[in-house]
């Protein structure tokens, strides 16, 4: 058979690798910043742009989509060509993919600090950027499938199975979850409301973890671990079983983010059970990674790169054990809304994603530059610092999270909350946050060592843009399945069929969970007293979303005595039917706000309190860790946007009266004036057109609708 000569294009791999490092520095430093901001509110430097509610989404987006995203593309652009013995399909598509993705990241960072956000975690970006992501993702897929179809190998390797599943699932998740009605160029309302929105969001959110942080990294692991160690993959059979079971089961697990919420019981049960069933398929990946190193353990001892892979894969095993554990309702009742969750995700992020990325970069760059790594010793130092960093990062959060949850739940013998003041439970966390920030600092330090080491390596080598290779052309394969080949082996040489099967596998769970929640009325029983927000409250809600309040405050009272005693009646599904987007939140750095406006409730505060508190929380309680929001009293409400917002809400099915958009501004002003008057009566002079007035109006609306039944009015 004649050998064909061709070359691998290393340019895109190199570009993505460098982008990974650049965004890594940005994302990790941003992480360190918010680790400090969470307990030192003045670390926002008094600027709205650098306040936790905005910098936290920048951090999550930067590390997930910029740092990890670019690393995924690095791995795919490198391994795909070599596994398929072909050049990437199109240089142009590669370029558009690369620069498009970087432009999206810049646009994301800028809009998020400016406060343009949809208000759904890990999907905060506004609709024009969402469209750009879709386009670039399709271009990436085009380039990937083009490459697969022009391959010189008969079959596609397990890494590529994972790349295919990643591509199709991320596309489905992103498109469905980002559906929205635009109000203006950078403002939209999500298509779904309340519980339905929460379900779609966490179907997306959980599977962003699954198909952005897990499956591409399994693909990466399956390429780099055998490649670096020179060992064969432990078990092909295990690859097949764990691949299909993982992608099929993962998609169902989203509701475990909403345990004890107002999500129907049957959905919660699916969340729990499918998470539990994920344990073995996840560990299948870990085992196939670790056991591939059988016979190479002495190499692991000497080589920092393999050590990073071992710690990374072990971290994957730990967090995929912890995941099912946290999906048991009894455990989740403690862990949810606390720092335990943050610790859990960072075992995965710092351990699994981080360590695999480091290992990959240390191995890849010297090869792209035809040189040796500048210093193996420094890589070793990085390994130890990063490992230590994970310990310092996670352990305090576990301790802090459990402590706080137990304090929330503690009653005195005569039936009162032992710690009725939320801030008392926060005080316990401050030392833990300090140690966590130190862990974060170590992790950043380690990464800077990597950057130094890599820059030195690049300086000592010369870039190999075209890597020459040769392989025989692909023989034409029999169309149908031959007798001797197994069904799966047949599928491995039919990539489009493979794509279709993978798509079916990932659609089933989502369809079974999402569709009935829309079609069957009993899932979200109507509460007649629940009415749409007034125009002023709607504007206030948009400010709540814009400032990222949901990053620290939940609006979801779980049916526990400890929560109904602290906050009031537990949350019902019918309450949030006009909430585009839902604002249940996932973390309580501050107290729940779902009953904030209930005058007869347990946490009600007058307008003047809110005014003072927004401007200076420490004035109300010096132990408060909430940042000051003085700009709310200066900035004016964008009153002219009101009719457009009402119109968009009506399109979404919110029952405002006919032609209400024409009356909306008038109503808004009247309500704002009455709040300003009340503030004036309490000695606070302010114009009624300020953002703070709208936000107060929203605060005072929270929880009011379902309590009107019990109050005389």
């Amino acid at each position: 058979m004649e050998l064909q000569k061709f070359s691998y294009d290393n340019r895109m791999t190199r570009n993505f690798a460098i982008a990974t490092m650049v965004w890594g520095v940005v994302g990790l430093l941003n992480g360190l910043l918010i680790a400090l901001q969470i307990y030192i509110p003045s670390m926002n430097f008094g600027l709205e742009f650098t306040t936790f509610g905005r910098t936290r989404p920048v951090h999550t987006n930067a590390v997930i989509f910029a740092f990890v995203g670019n690393a995924i593309f690095t791995a795919i652009y490198y391994s795909l060509q070599r596994l398929l013995k072909t050049r990437m399909y199109s240089e142009l598509l590669g370029k558009i993919h690369f620069w498009g993705w970087q432009a999206i990241i810049v646009a994301a960072a800028v809009t998020l600090v400016m406060g343009f956000t949809v208000g759904k975690e890990y999907a905060e970006l506004e609709w024009p950027i969402d469209i750009a992501i879709t386009v670039v993702w399709v271009i990436f897929g085009w380039n990937m499938f083009g490459t697969i179809l022009q391959r010189r190998t008969s079959h596609i390797y397990v890494s590529i199975w994972f790349y295919i599943a990643t591509w199709v699932t991320v596309a489905v998740l992103h498109i469905v979850n980002s559906m929205a009605i635009p109000v203006s160029f950078l403002k939209s309302y999500t298509l779904y409301a309340g519980v339905q929105d929460a379900l779609v969001q966490w179907w997306y959110g959980h599977n962003a973890v699954a198909f952005f942080l897990t499956t591409p990294f399994l693909g990466l692991m399956y390429y780099f671990v055998p490649k670096i160690s020179g060992r064969p993959v432990y078990s092909y059979k295990l690859s097949i079983v764990h691949f299909w079971s993982l992608i099929f089961l993962y998609i169902w697990a989203g509701p475990h983010h909403l345990l004890y919420s107002s999500l129907p019981d049957w959905l919660q049960a699916l969340g729990t059970t499918f998470s539990v069933m994920l344990l073995a398929p996840s560990w299948g990946g870990m085992i196939n990674g670790l056991l591939t190193l059988r016979g190479a353990w002495d190499k692991v001892r000497r080589d920092p790169i393999l050590k990073m892979f071992v710690v990374g894969i072990t971290a994957y095993g730990m967090s995929t054990f912890e995941g099912p554990l946290l999906s048991f309702k009894t455990v989740n009742a403690i862990s949810h809304f606390t720092d335990w969750t943050i610790g859990h995700v960072h075992i995965g992020a710092l351990g699994w994603n981080g360590m695999l990325i480091f290992g990959m970069i240390y191995w890849l760059i010297p090869r792209l530059y035809n040189t040796k790594l500048y210093s193996t010793k420094l890589a070793n130092v990085h390994f130890w610092i990063a490992t230590l960093a994970i310990v310092f990062y996670a352990i305090p959060l576990y301790i802090g999270g459990i402590t706080q949850a137990l304090m929330w739940k503690q009653f005195t013998p005569d039936g009162f909350l032992m710690y009725p003041n939320f801030l008392e439970t926060v005080a316990q966390l401050i030392p833990m946050y300090t140690i966590r920030a130190f862990g974060g600092f170590l992790y950043v330090l380690g990464f800077l060592i990597l950057v130094f080491n890599i820059v030195k390596t690049i300086q000592s080598g010369s870039f190999v843009a075209e890597e020459h290779a040769e392989a025989p052309a692909l023989e034409s394969l029999p169309e149908g399945k031959t007798q001797s080949e197994s069904g799966h082996r047949f599928l491995e040489r039919k990539p489009i069929r493979f794509l279709i099967f993978a798509t079916i596998a990932i659609l089933i769970g989502g369809i079974i969970e999402v569709i009935p929640t829309y079609l069957i009325k009993s899932n979200i029983p109507t509460i007649t007293s629940v009415k749409p927000y007034t125009p002023l409250e709607l504007q206030g809600r948009d400010i709540y979303v814009k400032e990222g309040c949901y990053n620290c405050h939940s609006q979801m009272i779980r049916p526990f005595r400890s929560e109904t005693e602290r906050y009031g009646e537990y949350s019902k599904a019918g309450e949030s039917v006009y909430d585009h987007p839902f604002q249940f939140g996932s973390k309580r750095t501050g107290p729940d706000l779902a009953r904030e406006g209930v005058k007869t409730g347990k946490i009600y505060k007058p307008n003047s309190w809110h005014y003072n508190h927004f401007i200076d929380p420490q004035k109300m309680n010096e132990a408060s860790i909430m940042p000051k929001y003085p700009w709310l009293a200066k900035k004016e409400i964008d009153i002219q946007s009101t009719p457009g917002k009402i119109r968009a809400m009506k399109i979404l099915g919110v029952p405002y009266p006919e032609n209400y958009e024409q009356k909306a501004i008038e109503d808004l002003k009247a309500q704002a004036d009455s709040i300003a008057k009340d503030l004036a009566a309490n000695g606070i002079q302010t114009d009624s057109n300020r953002e703070i007035i709208a936000l107060i109006a929203y605060m005072q609306r929270l929880g009011v609708d379902i309590s009107t039944k019990s109050t005389k009015k």
Binding site: R82, Y157, V158, P226, K227, I228, G230, P232, V233, Y234, S235, Y236, K237, L238, V241, S245, Y260, D265, A269, L270, T273, F274, V276, M277, L279, A280, W283, I287, L291, G295, K299, R302, P304, I305, K329, W363, K372, L373, T376, F411, T412, D414, G415, F416, Y419, P559, R561, T564, T600, G601, K602, Y604, K605, P606, N607, S608, W609, M620, N621, E622
Partner: protein, 204 residues
């Protein structure tokens, strides 16, 4: 310095080997991707059984919910049960507590300390750290909006003044605690802290 260069440069064994030298496990014939081979290992049995166990658990869990509608999985029922159990328990505890307090009366100092602890948790966010008044009225001057006698304060704490933003604290403090905090509040009279809020209400 050289760590894995040697591996990289080494060509995959050209010999038609079928068995891995190290583990003596068979390779899958024809599976080779960029030098990566795959071994014919079965699934680890314990992993397979772990998978079966989780599947059996999940099916049972779902049957418990969908078929038997078990109370332990339906959260509203679970909640009602929790509240009932707590109510029964606290009734006993309240009686015991009453006996205990009657048996061991506190000194005035202890009362003030207990009252201050409650004040610092609950009251200060509106009435200021030293009772100087913030959103709520000043406790250190001689003026009272709803009266300054202990029973008048008690009424405010128990019922709240909803129109002014003072909520009812009857579900957050027991009777003894309310008495303690009133004792502390009244002890602030004339303490003259900085940043006092202007007098409100009528002079005592």
């Amino acid at each position: 310095m050289s760590t894995n260069e040697d591996i990289q440069l080494k060509e995959p064994n050209k010999v038609n080997e079928e068995v891995d030298d190290v583990t003596k496990i068979k390779f899958f014939g024809g599976h080779e991707y960029d030098g990566i081979k795959e071994l014919d290992n079965p699934l680890p049995p314990w992993l397979k059984y772990l998978f079966y166990v989780t599947i059996i658990f999940s099916i049972s869990y779902l049957i418990l919910l969908f078929v038997f509608k078990d109370d332990s999985i339906i959260q509203v029922k679970e909640y009602r049960k929790e509240v009932m159990a707590a109510r029964a328990k606290t009734e006993v505890a309240v009686k015991e507590e009453a006996v205990k307090t009657a048996a061991a009366p506190m000194t005035e100092e202890q009362i003030l300390a207990a009252g201050k602890a409650i004040y610092d948790k609950t009251c200060l966010v509106c009435h200021g750290k030293f009772g100087e008044g913030l959103v709520g009225p000043n406790f250190t001057d001689e003026y009272w909006i709803h009266g300054g006698r202990p029973e008048e304060l008690k009424k405010v704490i128990i019922e709240g003044v909803l129109d002014k933003g003072m909520i009812s604290y009857k579900s957050q403090m027991n009777n003894t605690q309310i008495d303690h905090v009133i004792g502390y509040i009244l002890s602030l009279q004339g303490s003259n802290p900085p940043n006092q809020k202007a007098p409100q209400g009528v002079k005592n």
